[in-house]
Every structure is written in structure tokens, then in C-alpha cells.
């Protein structure tokens, strides 16, 4: 069973899939709203970045799992 931790680390990269969908959705929704009402867009930039950062964190947890599987198991 040697080396299975590398398989697990590879599987942890699937976290990128979820983060990609989430971050894509956030920017898509922002652009959608910004195109409809451009004057209200700048005030929502902070919220955009906040949502992006929180969503991205979950992808980064996948990265942390991969690191643990490679270096700490």
C-alpha cells in the first residue's frame, strides 16, 4: 500500500474543481449585476472580493489536505 498517499494528494486536487465553479459563479454574478446597473457596481467590489476570498479558501483546504498527505502521512 506504499504510495497511495500520492493518489490521495492527486484526488485532493479535485477541490480545485469546486473552487473554480464557486469563484466563477461569483464573478459571473457580479458582472451580471454590474452590466445591469453599472453605477452600483463599485460599491459592491468589496463584497465581490470577500466572496471570492471565502470561496477560494475551500479550494485551499484541498491544497492543505494534499500537503498533509505528501509530507505528514
Amino acid at each position: 500500500m506504499e504510495g497511495l498517499n500520492y493518489v490521495g494528494a492527486g484526488l485532493a486536487c479535485l477541490a480545485m474543481l469546486g473552487a473554480a465553479i464557486g469563484v466563477g459563479n461569483i464573478f459571473a454574478a457580479y458582472l451580471d449585476g454590474a452590466m445591469r446597473n453599472p453605477s452600483a457596481a463599485p460599491q459592491q467590489f468589496g463584497n465581490l472580493i470577500f466572496g471570492f476570498a471565502v470561496t477560494e479558501a475551500l479550494g485551499i483546504f484541498g491544497f492543505a489536505v494534499a500537503l498533509i498527505l505528501i509530507f505528514a502521512v
Binding site: G46, I49, F50, A53, A57, F63, A64
Partner: protein, 253 residues
């Protein structure tokens, strides 16, 4: 060749001179050196910006004003009036992270923010500050953030543990985000750059030419993206600090 293409080699910390105090290894390392350089850079630029202040600012003063105003704007937007005492803190965090990230973009310079010991400390410090400020300002009422108002009592048994876990994962995600973004970006740059010597070894001079022509534009693009990430991560760290501080400063919700 091995070292030239090893993407993790750039993150190795080496000691510049040994220093032991009471059995603790506190040697001055490359990481410490670049942190000092970053801090001196921030202090130097701001000292120049505030050297001879005028009503109509010159270029250097404008730089300082825009820089400070940008952070003060974030704090005012998120925390409103109670956040005012925290502007210097958020400004220091932003400036340190931003300058450290930008220094890391130069070849052969060291990225201090690509080590979780550095980013993790800043994250734990930020969350500890939130807890301390919250306890001072609100007393035990601070713990109301774990019990959202307007939620039915039955649901609280589920919601409260989730709120506690989400609060406890904040320092992890705050530190991890900066660390992973800087590490990931620099590894990606190095891996792309490593295509050139790999192609040269495989195909000789033709490979070198192909690698240069195909990979170089790619690396330029990724480098530009990394500059954006360097700014964005500093901005995100500053903004999340404000958002988390809101738990300690804002009205109970």
C-alpha cells in the same frame, strides 16, 4: 540542472549567521533579512512621503496619501466609525504583506509570505486580537456571535456548532490563503520556466529556441497575473481583518 528545475528550491531558508540564545535557535535567516528589507522599504517610502508635507501634495506625498486613504477607505466601509483606531493596524498588515509579496516577484529575492510560519502568525495574531477586543468591548456578550438572533431554538443546536467551527477555522483559512497563493504562484512560475531547460535537454538547441519562443510569452503572462495576485492577497487579508473585527466592534446581529 536538478537545482535549476526544482520548483521548491526557491523556498529554502538558509542561515546568514548563527545565533543561539538560551538554547533557542534564533539565527538570522534569508527570510528574516527580506522581512527587514520589506519593513525598511515601507518606512523609507512613508518617511519620504511625509518629509515636507504641503497642502498641494507632490508626487511622493500623493503616493502616501493614496496608499493610506485606500486602507482607511476599506476600514471605514466595513467597520464605520468604531474601526478608526484599527486603521494603523490594518495599514501595517496590508503594507507588510503587499511589499513582501512584491519583493518576492523579483528573481532570486525571497518571498517571506510563502512560509506558513509567517502568514500563520499574522492570522493567529489577527483572530486573537478580535477575541481580545471583543471581550473588552462587549464582555461575555461577545459570544453572542455564535448564537445568531432570529434562529429557532431547535436549529440553534445545529447552527451554534457550525458557527464555532467556522470561527475556529478563520485563522487557518486566513493564513493558509496567503501562504498557498504565494507558494502556488511561485511554483507555477518555476515549473513553466523549467520547461525551457527540459526542452533543451530533450531536443538540444532547437528545443531551447522552441522553449524560448513558446514558453516565454506564457511566463510573462503568468508573471503579470502574479503581480495582480500579490496585490489582491494583501487586499484580501486587510479586508478580511476588517470583516472579522466587525464581530468584535459591530452591533449584535
Amino acid at each position: 540542472m536538478r537545482i535549476a528545475t526544482d520548483p521548491m528550491h526557491q523556498f529554502q531558508i538558509s542561515k546568514l549567521f548563527d545565533l543561539n540564545i538560551a538554547g533557542l535557535d534564533v539565527s538570522f535567516t534569508t527570510s528574516a533579512l527580506w522581512m527587514v528589507v520589506g519593513v525598511l522599504l515601507v518606512i523609507g517610502v512613508l518617511a519620504l512621503a511625509t518629509a515636507n508635507m504641503k497642502t498641494v501634495p507632490d508626487r511622493m506625498q500623493s503616493l502616501g496619501e493614496i496608499w493610506y486613504g485606500f486602507i482607511a477607505g476599506i476600514v471605514k466601509d466595513v467597520n464605520h466609525a468604531p474601526g478608526k483606531p484599527f486603521i494603523p493596524l490594518v495599514f501595517s498588515l496590508f503594507s507588510f504583506i503587499f511589499v513582501a509579496n512584491i519583493i518576492g516577484m523579483f528573481p532570486y529575492f525571497f518571498t517571506t509570505t510563502s512560509h506558513i510560519a509567517v502568514t500563520g502568525f499574522m492570522a493567529v495574531f489577527t483572530i486573537s486580537l478580535v477575541v481580545v477586543v471583543g471581550l473588552i468591548k462587549k464582555g461575555l456578550g461577545f459570544f453572542k456571535i455564535f448564537v445568531p438572533s432570529g434562529v429557532p431554538v431547535v436549529l440553534l443546536f445545529i447552527v451554534t456548532p457550525i458557527e464555532i467551527i467556522s470561527f475556529l477555522s478563520r485563522p487557518i483559512s486566513l493564513g493558509m490563503r496567503l501562504f498557498a497563493n504565494m507558494l502556488g504562484g511561485h511554483v507555477a512560475l518555476k515549473v513553466f520556466a523549467g520547461f525551457v531547460p527540459s526542452l533543451a535537454v530533450a531536443l538540444g538547441g532547437l528545443g531551447m529556441l522552441m522553449g524560448g519562443l513558446l514558453v516565454m510569452p506564457l511566463i510573462v503572462g503568468v508573471t503579470a497575473l502574479e503581480f495582480l495576485v500579490a496585490f489582491l492577497q494583501a487586499y484580501v487579508f486587510a479586508m478580511l481583518t476588517c470583516v472579522y473585527l466587525n464581530d468584535a466592534l459591530g452591533e449584535a446581529h
